[in-house]
Symmetry: C2
Subunit: 159 residues, 2 copies
């Protein structure tokens, strides 16, 4: 469905770096950078020396971009790719990886949700008010945010 119907998924006409970038949502510079640091294999070249890619690279790069977007470091992405490149190996490493990241993702999620609620509240209720009645600042100064949000104890001034 994402594929070109004329070919059975795997091969298609090779594309240039610009198209690769467009299809996967990043820039040509970034593609070259990823090649340089080894996240992408050295591209095959045209007669004149320009990089040529196929559909698999589009998927690989899309994967990279999504993973980066989720907050994984380049090194974490490298690990994930390593696993993706060896689908025959046992799941243990992926499992360890998942365990390692789950807690972090969850806490990030919670805090982000708290922020979202606050932003939402502000958008719907703040019209005409004053800054001092906006709780966002309070929310962000609060130490307890990382544990839970109890009833708000004073503290307004930040300097």
């Amino acid at each position: 469905m994402t594929e070109d119907a004329t070919h059975p998924t795997t091969a298609g006409p090779p594309i240039g770096i610009g198209d690769l970038a467009r299809h996967s949502g990043c820039k040509p510079e970034t593609v070259r950078y990823y090649e340089r640091i080894g996240l992408l294999p050295d591209a095959t070249r045209s007669e004149g020396g320009q990089r040529r890619y196929d559909e698999r690279t589009v998927r690989r790069l899309t994967f990279i971009r999504h993973a980066r977007d989720f907050g994984f470091s380049i090194e974490a992405v490298r690990e994930l790719l390593e696993m993706a490149d060896h689908p025959e190996m046992p799941c243990d490493e992926v499992d360890a990886f998942a365990k390692h990241h789950l807690a972090e993702v969850e806490s990030r999620l919670q805090r982000l949700a708290a922020l979202r609620d606050e932003l939402k509240r502000m958008v719907t209720q703040c019209a005409g008010g004053r800054v001092e009645s906006c709780r966002i600042i309070e929310v962000l100064s609060d130490h307890r945010l990382y544990h839970q949000r109890g009833e708000h104890g004073g503290s307004n001034a930040l300097r």
Copy 2:
């Protein structure tokens, strides 16, 4: 409750940069950096020229760290601090700020939740399996992730 009971919240004995850092969860280097770029006011100094801080700075810095942690850029933090520094001004700017960031935070939240689910599934179900049965790689390669997750269409190789 976070405060020292001997003083009514505002003033306390001045603390050094190390304590400030510990209390707010960042490093002395970062504190100096924030001062340099103007997120923190120039600190008052001891006789010998060392920085001295009070409770307000702890709060301000905690605020900065949380905001950064939520993914706000330094410039966004600067705006927020500007607002916090002028609580008497009308809410419009905070409101605009909130509107501007809400959409982004929400989409980030959704994608993070998708990832969380996948990690969770992996941790609970993957024991003993093989990488090829792990959907995380599929999830992260999928274009449609940003819209919704339909039934999974093939595609394993990423290179």
